[in-house]
């Protein structure tokens, strides 16, 4: 039997009926049409489904939609403001950190969670924060550089 959940997604409060065995990634993609969050392995091994749930980066394939009742969810779609890319998104574009783009939403959200906690991370801290997000294309180097760049912009050390 479906259950009603109330949650906030990208700043918008909403109410929905979900199947009890529906995962958060399924709910976001199939019910809300927010397909920026990707379904990769479904087992918590790749990070393609990363979203920020109540301030923490999590694998949305391992969260039941019903467990997100009363919570705040941030997906990749929630980063840009008024059509302007978030500094992380802009840095990924500028640094060539995007090839096929499949890992990108998860990477950016893991990076966002990191920068909230550590606005000036070292390279090791960046790589550790991304250690749950796999990329098959880039070899990670540009991704790390992009996050480093975004950190500088976000802390006002550089013009974007």
């Amino acid at each position: 039997m479906k259950k009603i959940i109330r949650l906030t997604v990208n700043g918008e409060p909403l109410e929905a009926a979900v199947a009890q065995n529906q995962t958060l990634v399924q709910f976001l993609r199939e019910d809300l049409g927010l397909t920026g969050t990707k379904h990769g392995c479904g087992l918590g091994d790749c990070g393609a489904c990363t979203v920020i749930l109540d301030g923490k980066a999590v694998n949305s394939c391992l969260v039941l939609a019903i467990q997100a009742n009363g919570s705040e969810v941030l997906t990749i779609e929630g980063l840009a403001e008024n059509g302007k890319l978030h500094p992380l998104q802009q840095a990924f574009v500028d640094k060539g950190a995007i090839q096929c783009g499949f890992c990108t939403p998860g990477m950016i959200l893991s990076a966002k969670a990191l920068l909230e906690e550590k606005p000036n991370p070292t390279e090791l801290e960046i790589r550790t924060a991304l250690s749950g997000n796999l990329c098959r294309c880039t070899g990670y180097q540009k991704i790390v550089e992009a996050i480093d760049e975004a950190a500088k912009v976000m802390t006002g050390r550089e013009e974007s």
Partner: protein
């Protein structure tokens, strides 16, 4: 990957959770972080009819410094929270280190210490770390409450002495004596999103900085059907003054306690070599840590 159908219940008190566990018998599973359980359900290894969530049960997700001595950790405390908890990092370093090496950051934000202990995988990260502190596990059911030494909790891969109607409600550890240091080493083919090939936790207490070893506990994971203590190596070390040679010897003795298998992560031969190396390395790290002890 689809989950099978089940009914999801969110009890709001511990009593309600225990009553549900009692009523459902073996068909219900407790869900905390869900990072192991939901994977097993997606792989059709488990098909519980009911999931009893701990999300709304109060009192299970805190780390509490006890008035007299020691710490009480709720089963629903996440690995991420344990890894960054100042008190745990200071006095129970192996637990904080193990917490920080579990899975990956995104997993650690959901995975819980209780889940890791009760799932009892031989290569799990928390069991050896808890064993070197002789942690006491508190199990509760509607009719009973009991306390078990963590070293006696594990029975085999995925098996513990917990009854289907019992819930792990607390993990208690006494604050170690002065001049105690600890360490945890996890060996895998990669540094994250990894299940151990061999892991080892050590707690070591010196009489005083230049003094002999007066207490030592060594626990190894992934080298036997359950995590094991290297009692013979511990006995060898008691009363001896720390040195590379002594730690090396302890490592060699430690291999004797272990019964590793050959699987896709590593051969038995390699694991035995690693037990020896990592035990002596962990002893060294724990010793260095002990020298830095502060009240």
């Amino acid at each position: 990957m689809l989950l099978p159908k089940f009914e999801y219940i969110e009890p709001t008190t511990l009593e309600e959770a225990l009553r549900l566990l009692s009523d459902m018998g073996g068909n219900a599973r407790v869900i905390a972080g869900g990072t192991d359980l939901l994977v097993r359900m997606k792989l059709k290894i488990e098909k519980p009819s009911h999931l009893i969530s701990l999300r709304k049960v109060p009192g299970l997700n805190q780390v509490i410094k006890r008035e007299t001595h020691g710490v009480s950790i709720g089963p629903a405390v996440t690995a991420a929270d344990l890894a960054r908890n100042e008190f745990i990092r200071d006095k129970f370093a192996p637990v904080a280190t193990a917490a920080g090496k579990l899975g990956a950051p995104v997993i650690r934000n959901r995975a819980t210490i209780g889940g890791n202990l009760v799932n009892a995988r031989p290569a799990a990260d928390f069991p050896p770390a808890c064993m070197v502190f002789d942690a006491i596990l508190k199990l509760k059911s509607t009719t009973n409450e009991r306390e078990i030494l963590v070293g006696q909790f594990f029975r085999g891969p995925g098996e513990t002495i917990i009854e289907p109607n019992e819930l792990l409600v607390g993990i208690f550890m006494e604050t170690p004596a002065p001049w105690t240091g600890g360490s945890y080493i996890k060996l895998g083919a990669r540094k994250a999103l990894e299940i151990s090939m061999v892991n080892v936790a050590v707690m070591l207490t010196l009489q005083e900085p230049l003094g002999p070893i007066v207490d030592v506990k060594i626990a190894l994971g992934a080298v036997a059907p359950t995590p094991v203590r290297a009692f013979a190596a511990e006995q060898y070390l008691m009363g001896r003054h720390p040195s590379e040679k002594v730690f090396s010897e302890a490592g060699a003795i430690g291999v004797g306690m272990c019964n590793p298998i050959t699987d896709h992560r590593g051969t038995m031969e390699y694991r035995c070599l690693m037990i020896e190396t990592l035990t002596s390395r962990a002893l060294n790290q724990a010793y260095q840590n002990a020298l830095d002890w502060k009240p």
